[in-house]
Symmetry: C2
């Protein structure tokens, strides 16, 4: 026998066996369903692109550049694996928007690759799950983005969460009024660390001299942080900004857009406590120019935002002269999966089917598959065990995989036109006439879910 090749995955990459892939697929399905329900349409783009397109105007020493999987293909082309879905979307939009028309609403769920140093829970291949509306500056699209995030979180089974919303116009207006307009970029990048690092560290970094920090005077740094930490309901926060800074055109426009967002969301039926104006939300990226969004789980605030995004002025300026303003957000799939695992929200099963039909008598395989097809047609996923092994071995398999019900029928049952239904969690079993099987199983599965 020749030498075996050691089966292994690359460092920073992982397999998804069924117990991990079932919840992951459910999450992607749910996102897809919610995005579609708002009229976002799916697109896909290649994993490989010309390196120059992905790199765009990144600094030569930017972290992303170093993380790029970049090589020469068979034709000697300089190519790389995409590191996010935004840059390919920009390239896609520049190439196709004339044909597609605006407004254009798309979602894109797909893997991206970054050769990062692998730390706890960071992988070199991970899924992104983005939705965007481009080709309109209308606040209607900003408002809808908040509704989508809200409905997505509810569809994922969360009740206790908060979408925190701000507007870069407000932040920039406040900074202008402090005479800090020119330092807005660095200030916002530091302010973005407020939830994680707290007030004191952020003030220290803001007031540290240039090189180490932003170089603000101590009083300025404190005022900036105090403004960002303005407390109160959404209405109170907006009233205060308007009172103190309403003379500033940017701040006034930002406040007006946020007010409309809160009002429309309320009329549309979103509970008030789920959306909150929070002046400390600022997102690190220079890219954002208007509304910005972060989403926090009330029971796991430390995990950070699980769905974030914002409005930008121009998606595809590197590739086309056509200005493409837009707004969108991205679901943090892996972070959310980790959170759901921690909150015990994930079902523990390695089968997508709740019902196993035991192969009791090999010569009745046709009947087992007939019963299986009847249940499948009623929407109940049903596996038929492939061999006529001992009953005990088949039931052990059923329990190990996480099936909910086992169906057992031998010559006696077939003669009587019945089938035994065994509830695996309680080990209770009873005979059910075949004609009542679908209804009985639907009832048992509903009861099992409540257990």
């Amino acid at each position: 026998m020749s030498k075996l090749i050691e089966p292994r995955t690359l460092k920073g990459f992982r397999d998804y066996p069924p117990d991990l892939m079932i919840p992951r697929e459910w999450l992607m399905d749910t996102a897809r369903r919610v995005y579609r329900s708002y009229g976002f349409a799916p697109i896909d783009t290649p994993a490989l692109e010309y390196a120059e397109i992905l790199i765009g105007k990144l600094d030569a020493d930017a972290e992303i550049q170093r993380q790029l999987y970049r090589f020469r293909d068979h034709g000697g082309r300089d190519v790389a694996l995409r590191f996010d879905l935004t840059v390919p979307f920009a390239r896609f939009a520049a190439q196709n928007i004339a044909k597609l028309g605006t407004p254009f609403k798309r979602y894109h769920i797909g893997p991206v690759w970054r050769g990062e140093n692998t730390q706890a829970g960071r992988y070199r291949e991970f899924m992104q799950c983005d939705f965007d509306t481009i080709g309109t500056t209308s606040n209607g699209a900003d408002i809808e983005t908040a509704l989508v995030i809200h409905d997505l979180m509810v569809a994922l089974g969360f009740e206790r969460f908060e979408v925190r919303i701000n507007n870069r116009l407000v932040l920039n207006g406040l900074l202008e009024e402090q005479g800090l307009a020119e330092k807005a970029g660095p200030i916002l990048r530091v302010l973005d660390k407020l939830p994680k690092q707290g007030r004191d560290k952020v003030i220290a970094e803001l007031s540290a001299p240039l090189g180490e920090g932003v170089g603000l005077e101590a009083g300025q740094a404190e005022r900036v942080v105090a403004l960002a930490q303005t407390q109160g309901s959404s209405g109170e926060v907006l009233d205060r900004v308007e009172r103190d800074f309403g003379r500033n055109a940017k701040a006034a426009e930002g406040v007006a857009r946020l007010r409309e967002l809160i009002a429309v969301a309320r009329t549309a039926g979103i509970p008030d406590e789920r959306l909150r104006i929070d002046l400390s939300i600022c997102r690190g990226l220079d890219y954002y120019t208007g509304t910005i969004y972060e989403t926090f789980l009330t029971d796991l605030p430390g995990i950070g935002s699980v769905c974030s995004g914002g409005r930008y002025d121009n998606l595809a300026g590197l590739y086309t002269k056509q200005a493409l303003p837009g707004v969108g957000a991205s679901l943090g799939l892996d972070r959310l999966l980790a959170a759901m695992e921690e909150l015990n929200l994930l079902p523990k099963a390695s089968t997508p089917a709740p019902v196993l039909v035991v192969q009791f008598a090999a010569e009745r395989l046709g009947d087992y598959q007939r019963i299986g097809r009847t249940l499948r047609q009623a929407g109940i996923a049903t596996e038929v065990y492939p061999e006529a092994k001992k009953l005990g071995a088949q039931l052990q398999y059923a329990e190990r995989r996480g099936f909910r019900l086992a169906l057992i029928a031998g010559p006696d049952e077939f003669a009587a036109g019945v089938c035994k239904v065994k509830v695996l969690a309680t080990r209770e079993e009873r005979s059910v006439p075949e004609v009542e099987l679908v209804a009985t199983i639907q009832k048992e599965l509903a009861a099992d879910q409540r257990r």
Copy 2:
């Protein structure tokens, strides 16, 4: 303004805009649903693997080797993009099967990459869509594979198709009886071309001297082709093989397994005309050792098999000493999409939502989104136009995108508690009380589908 980067995709790669991605996603969803309904569980594996794992024992000059996207990663590792889902599954199984247990049923839907010469309709990145049962030699798994293929084709909307089934044991038995056992490999590879190239060319290649062909005597070649082309119902074909070759142990076992398959499928409710024993089906790959499957569309036979597979003795022999026999098949996603386009089975729309709520009066945006959320909660995907543009422009957008219904409400309608429902195909419109909106729209969409 700095120079623009030309937005373009790599040769052999393509974007999927919504009108292509919507049917593609629907196809993948349908496959997923059918696979799951039989208890196949999802897995995923990395796009990148160690090159040595993907290459295995391929000849250095094998086509796949030349097509591999292979490079050195940041750590200097020799890595490559997967070229199919079978090799990664073998690696995965070798690594994980002890923990997962057998039988193990998985599906895997994901992209693979091959730097092929790009011809009509061949891309360097394409989706594979595989399902397999491993860890059992039981015919129950072979039979189920045929049922899954059948139910998948039906779920995809096909009525006129045929799953053609054979067994390598039968073919090998027939060749043994002709004294051709040692040439079985090359003979089957040539015989595999029978549907495309026809009888005469295949006989010519079989009887051409070694180097150009297989080197059979003319009489042998004709007998082999005549056997492969045995006509008749599944029962007749099996009866003839049994009568003429039943003394051969392999042929007898192959016939017994095929007989059971046909009998179980019939009892399980598969129409007889959908499954057919066809001795000319032999699949080119040496890999297969038992039952083999191909699937043909009655109305487009020339497109070739759209779902193919077979039984194999050992999935992961390169990576583990544990024998992992199995059986599975793969849906030819891109081929099937092309077929469905040709048969006009694909809906023409670039939106996943059937309903557009017109933004007639900007100050009622909250109500438009409230109506939208009511419809979404009833399972009706609904887009709200993001700006209060002119009605004509919004309706033009609706038609261009392929929406089915537009909802229009201004101050008068809101005052009266109604909403206008416009059927875009017929341009008919009527006022509907808001409380009846969901029911009316469900009825209109059903009527629209029948149109």
